[in-house]
Amino acid sequence: MRKLLKRKSKKTTKSRPYFSHPENHEPVSTNMEENKRFVEEQLFHTSDLFHKELTFNGKKILLLYLRTLVDQEKLQNFVIRPINRTKAGELSETINSSEVINTSDLNEAIVGLMKGHCILISENSETIYIVSVIANKYRNIDQPVSEQIIRGSHEGFIESMLVNLYLIRKRVENRNLTIKYFTLGKATQTKVALVYVNNLANPEIIKEVEKRLNAIDTDSIQSPGFIEEYIEDSPYSPFPQLLNTERPDRTGGHLLEGRFAIVMEGSPTVLIAPITLFAFYQSPDDYNSRWYIGSFFRTVRLASFLISMGLPAIYISIVSFHFEVIPIDLIFQIKNSLENVPFPPLFEAIMMVIILELLREASIRLPPSIAQTIGVVGGLVIGTAVVEASLVSNTMIIVIALTAISSFVVPSNEMSTTIRLLSFPLMIGAATLGFFGIIFFLTLILMHLCKLKSFGTPYFAPFAPFNPEGIKDTFIRLPIWKMNKRPLDSRPQHLNRERFSRKWKKNDKETE
């Protein structure tokens, strides 16, 4: 096995990657036309490469840019107009942009073109000026559709990394907030930023994530999901080990608990780690409302965790193994609804779950106007017709509907899907061994949760390892002034985050 690995690794180092970044230096020739031709050839005479000839200091200047990437107005105001007006002087001072780079490497100039810069090639000169005139086509900073809340900030990340980092910086105005750029993907050259608070995040964890990010060797990174799969600890675990979010407030909160965030250019999703299971059940709403309300919704959400995972399994085991636990007044109703159903309960449940997933999947892909029709057709027509035809019992419909609703309660989409997936082994366990089967699979899941780690920190904290202090922010949310310490799981450098904010009350009493 080891031999095989060795041979493989040798092979990869030997073979030439097809999208290697041209590292060879291509000197700028004094012949302007020759430079132009080189650029055109390197870009394969792409049609959106525009050029314009200008005169400066009595010399011809060739302006090259990719029309599709460049903001016309910026180009006009910052480059063309100053040159035309000034006519003479120092070129780099004439141009009205904060980002002017001069280079003698044609390849660097081409990279600049690809990034939305324009390049200025002067006659009889070996220096090329690269000026940033990139078009900023952003959508608004809207509330993310997948993570809506009632009260609190309605900002959301967008597809631009710069804007996203701006949102984070604005939220955590602290000199310790550190941003580190990485460039991943040989073909896509995707910019990725690692964000953390330097004096809070554990340096070992930061070192570990840098190591993992640097190890990524791929042609393209298209979404944060790629990065997630490359750097997560247990790729075969059903549980997500990085938190996906589109909310700056959530990201800011986690950064201040000593975690790090990975922001990727071109995606509104930010990855947060190290994370615990309970973080998936926290919503900014919990902290925006008073703690009674926050605690109540936490409890509801964690109940939804158990319902969506266990309810179909419990129902199956009750109707096929332990019907004596049903109260007498209910049992005849349930029995009656089951009477004409020809399938075993497991098959019935799986059928309903599949119908439900189909409906869900169908309504995601369709435009909202048609999705409504799907809702009516699916919910009303199939729901009633399936019962009328005695394919599925009434109670099973209720059980599956409850399960689906509770799974949608989870504030994180991937956790919600995970939970629904985990209900399948539980259902099979219930159909084969009854309550015992449920306990068997739940034990396996619990064992896995206890073993699971996110960047070396326990995933099931604060329950395993048990930390009573941490429970204040899990099933319940105690008042903020009770949570004096940061969660232990992210191993932050400083634990204390709150001293004695309600000392005014004590002072009042003393003065009385």
Partner: protein, 372 residues
């Protein structure tokens, strides 16, 4: 490879062993009530009322109907097996709410009938138990009482009697320990079928594992339960306190027990046991057409009359208990706990009927309703 094998084995363990002890609710025929009778030559005759819903539409709901199954066998299990052969699906007694025993069978031995229930983990130990005057199956055979199914009706009958402090709250589980307790006996609700009606006919006194054949009437049973400190939710008594008033209804008073306080005092010296039961009853007057209850003298007069009446009746109850050799007040248990020496000297079976038990009831009228 090893890992794959392990996964394969785990999956096959789960999938291959499963389902063999599956019992689908769909296939179960749920018994709501059972009646046991003594057949000729000592065999056991079981009647079971299986409750089903007559389906009206496809979406559940429906009219409940009873289906009666009977079988005769040497043991209860045998009758069950025979009944299972007679019904479609599986005969399941897991949700059985009420067990009725025929008089003759109860006089023989109660435990031996219920043995099967204590041995299987699925049986419903919170089911009610009742003894029926005559044959128990006669009640189930009525099938319906008004619009209610008879099994349900009987169960609710006993439940409401428990609330009215007419019968004790006993179930299969609770009587099990009492049957083997040398220091305590118990009573079971007695049901009676007259014409087309089922009614609670007081309680039957049990000694050890057998029904003695002695019984207390409803009124006596209520008093007994108060003496036993076993107050339900309400307890009402109608007593004649006057003579010669016209119309006759004016001679009576109906009282409701608000709360009661019992003091059981067992004194033992050598083989001499003296028991005094003090019972303080706080009452409200529910009905007293003669009125003048606003006067303190009337109240005092009533208090005195009622105390006397209740005490006399309590004496009667106690003598009945002793006559039946039924230590339902748990005096034996008290002796075991506090006068162990005496208990060891006594032969409780023989000595219980001879000990002195003096009940004393003190009545205190506290309320007279909302009219003055």
């Amino acid at each position: 490879m090893k890992k794959l094998m392990l996964i394969f084995l785990t999956i096959s363990i789960v999938l291959l062993t499963g389902c063999w002890d599956q019992k689908l609710l769909k296939d179960a025929r749920l018994v709501y009530g059972s009646a046991f009778d003594l057949a000729e030559d000592g065999r056991i005759h079981t009647t079971a009322a299986i409750r089903t819903l007559q389906r009206i539409g496809p979406s559940g709901g429906g009219k409940p109907v009873n289906e009666l199954v009977t079988a005769e066998g040497d043991t209860v299990r045998e009758t069950r097996m025979k009944m299972d052969e007679k019904v479609s699906g599986t005969f399941s007694a897991e949700k059985n709410r009420i067990f009725l025993l025929g008089e003759d069978l109860a006089k023989q031995d109660i435990y031996s009938v219920f043995d099967i229930l204590y041995r299987t983990p699925e049986s419903n130990l919170s089911a009610s138990v009742g003894i029926v005057n005559g044959k128990a199956s006669d009640i189930l055979k009525m099938s319906k009482k008004g619009e209610t199914l008879i099994s349900e009706y009987t169960y609710e009958l006993i439940e409401s009697a428990v609330q009215h402090t007419t019968v004790p709250h006993e179930n299969i589980q609770s009587i099990c320990t009492l049957m083997f307790d040398p220091g305590r006996d118990f009573v079971l609700p007695l049901l009676d079928k007259r014409d087309n009606e089922v009614a609670v006919d007081g309680v039957g006194l049990i000694h050890g594992r057998k029904y003695t054949g002695h019984k207390l009437s409803n009124e006596q049973a209520g008093l007994f339960l108060l003496l036993d400190d076993n107050y339900g939710k309400t307890a009402r008594f109608v007593k004649k306190v006057n003579k010669g008033q016209k119309p006759d209804i004016n001679n009576y008073v109906t009282v409701n027990v608000m709360n009661s306080k019992r003091k059981l005092d067992v004194q033992a010296k050598g083989r001499n046991v003296k028991v005094s039961i003090g019972l303080q009853l706080n009452l409200t007057v529910n009905e007293y057409p003669l009125d003048t209850l606003a006067k303190k003298t009337t109240i005092k007069d009533l208090d005195k009359k009622l105390s006397e009446k209740f005490t006399n009746e309590a004496k009667e109850v106690v003598s009945k208990l002793q006559e039946a050799n039924c230590d339902a007040l748990g005096i034996g248990r008290n002796l075991i706990a506090f006068h162990n020496e005496t208990w060891k000297q006594l032969d409780w079976e023989k000595d219980y009927p001879t000990i002195t038990i003096i009940p004393k009831i003190h009545v205190n009228i506290l309320g007279s309703g909302i009219i003055q």
